[in-house]
């Protein structure tokens, strides 16, 4: 990779090493593709493979840890995370376990495809092309709305499945841990959409300027 580039009068000017070039774009798209593949494998393919193999469904389960009070040494008894196995689940229970995963995978695939289109226009040198604002808003919507919906779907469906299991006297604890990072990233995408809207308007103004 050259550290300089030719100008019109043949002089060399230093290349902007922080510029988001083709290599960065391809790397980012590969990374997004890998993330998409991992999510699909983890949320859809592995549960289906487990279904075919007849494996039990493993469900996360939170319960307080009850131990005798030993001393006043400052021991902190917090929540215990259990992996509860639902042995020999019915078809309905399998589907209930699969639906949130399919929804999450669909969200991720949709996000990756929209992001790919977004990056394609940036790579083509037209970052403010028509449709870029819509794409950013879709990405923002997927993150702000889609992530919590996927979380609640997984949470409620897992809860329904755990409710049908004999938990051996353990009391369930509800811990709402919303995907805040995704939601904040969605807000950033929505803000970027506004910036791109202004950029598109400015580009339109400059076109045809002599």
């Amino acid at each position: 990779m050259n550290a300089t580039k030719d100008t019109q009068n043949g002089q060399k000017e230093p290349k902007d090493r922080l510029a988001f070039d083709k290599t960065d774009r391809i790397s980012l798209l590969v990374l997004m593709g890998v993330i998409g593949a991992i999510v699909v494998a983890r949320t859809v393919i592995l549960p289906i493979a487990g279904w075919i193999a007849g494996d039990p469904i493993v469900l996360p389960f939170l319960s307080p840890i009850n131990v005798p009070q030993l001393d006043a040494a400052g021991v902190d008894y917090t929540l215990g995370t259990y992996g509860v196995q639902l042995a020999d689940p019915s078809t309905g229970q399998r589907l209930l376990d699969l639906i949130p995963g399919i929804f999450s995978a669909a969200l991720v695939i949709c996000g990756v495809l929209v992001f790919r289109r977004f990056m394609r226009d940036i790579g083509a040198g037209v970052p403010f092309a028509p449709g870029q604002v819509t794409r950013l808003r879709i990405l923002g919507g997927l993150l702000i709305v889609g992530s919590p919906v996927a979380f609640f779907a997984r949470f409620s469906f897992d809860g329904a499945l755990v409710g049908s299991i004999d938990r051996g006297g353990l009391d369930p604890v509800i811990a709402l841990d919303l995907p805040w990072t995704h939601m904040v990233l969605g807000l950033v995408a929505a803000l970027l959409a506004e910036a791109f809207k202004v950029g598109a308007r400015l580009t339109e103004d400059v076109e045809g300027l002599i």
Binding site: D205, E207, G208, L209, I210
Partner: protein, 72 residues
């Protein structure tokens, strides 16, 4: 009055060039604008013109802005 789309500004660069016996390439050279951009202006495909470009064109062609443009 609301801004009208599209505009009705007509450029008379072609007539001025003919009167002065000047080519578009020579004007482009004198003004420091590309022939392509001047061609866009001449064929009424320009949406806007910088005051600096307008000043340079008027200086080279010895004309006023009103001679270069009219609203029809």
């Amino acid at each position: 009055m609301p801004v009208e789309q599209p505009h009705r500004v007509v450029c008379h660069l072609d007539d001025l060039l003919q009167d002065r016996g000047m080519t578009l390439a020579a004007l482009a050279e004198a003004v420091g604008v590309t022939v392509v951009n001047l061609s866009v202006l001449k064929n009424n495909r320009a949406k806007a013109i910088r005051f600096s470009t307008l000043t340079a064109i008027c200086e080279v062609l010895h004309c006023q802005a009103g001679e270069l443009f009219s609203v029809e």
